[in-house]
């Protein structure tokens, strides 16, 4: 108890003495966490959006002839052997005609002069709803085109590919901003602690002469690093939350944002970001002490 109260008094004294530098570091840590969390939030929401859009995704294989029952089970086996799927649905010429008639509604009379068997039979494949499957959808469609009797495979190629590229781009941005977070927090905190060590060299020298232990000298610096991580990440996440709320309120009208249901981080993710930030800052502080503090 005496140890902690003494260390806390010492930490408080240190912070009072070096508060301008500490404040600047705190802002840098907050900004880094904000930038990283911002892109990470978009990324996680895009993945969720991808999963939702994936619900409507289906690959349609147009066939030359309607497959007999035996052929149908053979096709199902070959499809599922390549990739697990949600559902496989066979559509006969008649079913396709009926569906088109339903879709035309009042204009159904345009089909009057046409042969009911003019539409090709098809197989509708609903892939599993996850992003990795979405990314592999092109390869899957190429495989489906090689099935016996397949004439053409159709799916929303364009948006799937665009979405795929966009999520990949976001992934790169998240990795880059994550690296930025690691570099800035660890280096800035290490640099601040280094400055504090240099500024307090005379004091540390006297403390050593008076018999201060390593724990007494080092623990306040570690606490400073810990506080930088805790407060910096909390401030960054709070700023992101307010930005998130502002965007939600501001863009409530119809638009692209209406298609995507944006959600904030779960408490677990918030905890992980704060813990990572604390680890980085305390680690930076520790490495700086090892380098610049002779005890």
């Amino acid at each position: 108890m005496k140890f902690f109260s003494t260390i806390l008094v010492q930490t408080n004294r240190n912070l009072q003495k070096t508060w301008p530098t500490q404040f600047m570091t705190l802002l840098t840590v907050s900004l880094s966490v904000l930038i990283f969390s911002f892109f990470f939030l978009i990324y996680t929401n895009m993945i969720k959006a991808g999963e939702r859009l994936g619900d409507d995704l289906r690959l349609t294989i147009y066939l030359e002839e309607e497959p007999v029952m035996e052929m149908q089970s053979q096709l199902v086996r070959r499809i599922t052997n390549f990739s697990p799927v949600e559902e496989i649905r066979f559509t006969s010429r008649q079913d396709a005609y009926n569906r088109l008639a339903t879709q035309l509604g009042d204009n159904v009379d345009v089909l009057d002069d046409l042969d009911p068997s003019f539409l090709p039979p098809s197989i509708e494949v609903y892939p599993k709803k996850n992003l990795s499957n979405l990314a592999q959808i092109k390869r899957f469609s190429e495989y489906l085109a090689t099935l016996p009797g397949a004439v053409k495979v159709q799916y929303g190629q364009e948006w799937v590919e665009r979405f795929n590229y966009f999520t990949k781009l976001l992934q790169i941005i998240v990795i880059l901003s994550g690296s930025l977070l690691i570099l800035t927090t660890a280096f800035m905190v290490a640099y601040t602690i280094r400055l504090a060590v240099v500024a307090r060299q005379a004091e540390l020298e006297i403390l050593r002469l008076l018999g201060a232990t390593n724990g007494y000298i080092r623990t306040p610096f570690l606490i400073e690093g810990f506080l930088q991580g805790l407060l910096g990440s909390t401030l960054g996440l709070l700023a992101l939350f307010f930005l998130f709320r502002w965007i939600q309120l501001r863009f409530t009208g119809p638009g692209i944002l209406q298609l995507i249901e944006f959600t904030f981080f779960s408490p677990t993710i918030i905890g992980i970001i704060i813990a990572a930030s604390i680890t980085l800052c305390t680690g930076g502080s520790f490495s700086s002490m090892r380098k610049f503090m002779r005890i």
Binding site: V9, A202, E203, E205, I206, G211, T213, N214, Y216
Partner: protein
């Protein structure tokens, strides 16, 4: 404070030599034994090696030859957590004060007790007590940098004494003090000595050891001069 047998050595120096680069011999072949509870005066002219000897005793410097043992520990061999533990048992009043100018007098004195994790209330009480003894109570919240040299000297003495150490080393403790304040400081050292603390005072101020019955060791050009008849004063040889 540990109670130790009176005849046991707290400081044992055997043939210690200290040479500063390139070839300045600060101490040469010094052997010395100081027992627990003793009060010893270390005298000699400026540059005689008094400060170096104190630095060897508190482990700031290490001898190039020979051995220095304090509280039974060979200072050449101790490492890790033993060093701060030993330093907490030694109170050193530095000639150059080593105070933090941007800290108050009270904070400077409290540092010595804070490093050994003493209770905050105990620290406050002890600081006030020492300031009263040294007539510095009105400077409690003054910054050390704003004090006169004499006041700074008293603060460094208060800090050396604060943690009730086993051994007090004082380097020219009265160098900047008038006779009245010198008396106060010496009274404080005597009180500490009576309560069992070993005290080594390096000084060239003859007035503080002239009438003392304690041992006086003299250094000359880094060498120990044989004890004179001043070592033990009797009413007959008193000046």
């Amino acid at each position: 404070m540990d109670t130790q047998p009176a005849n046991k050595s707290i400081v044992e120096i055997v043939r210690a030599t200290k040479i500063y680069p390139p070839d300045v011999v600060a101490l040469e072949d010094i052997s010395l034994s100081i027992t627990y509870g003793e009060m010893v005066f270390l005298t000699g002219m400026s540059g005689a090696g008094k400060t170096t000897l104190l630095k060897l005793i508190c482990g700031i410097e290490h001898p190039d030859k020979g051995m220095v043992e304090v509280t039974g520990k060979d200072l050449n061999r101790i490492k890790g957590a033993e060093i701060p533990r030993l330093r907490q048992q030694i109170g050193m009043a530095y000639q150059d004060f080593k105070l933090l100018p941007d800290r108050t007098v009270a904070q400077n004195i409290a540092m010595a007790m804070e490093v050994s994790y003493q209770n905050i209330r105990t620290i406050k009480k002890r600081v006030i007590e020492l300031l009263q003894k040294l007539r510095l109570e009105h400077k409690h919240n003054a910054f050390a940098g704003n004090l006169s040299r004499g006041e700074q000297q008293r603060v460094t003495i208060a800090r050396a004494v604060a943690n009730s150490p086993t051994l007090i080393l004082a380097d020219e403790p009265t160098g900047n003090l008038d006779s009245k304040t010198t008396k106060l400081v010496m009274e404080l050292f005597e009180q500490c000595n009576i309560s069992g603390t070993t005290i080594i005072i390096a000084t060239h101020d003859e007035s503080i050891y002239r009438k003392s019955e304690n041992r006086v060791l003299e250094l000359h050009s880094g060498q120990m001069v044989q004890p004179t008849d001043r070592t033990i004063l009797t009413p007959e040889n008193m000046p």
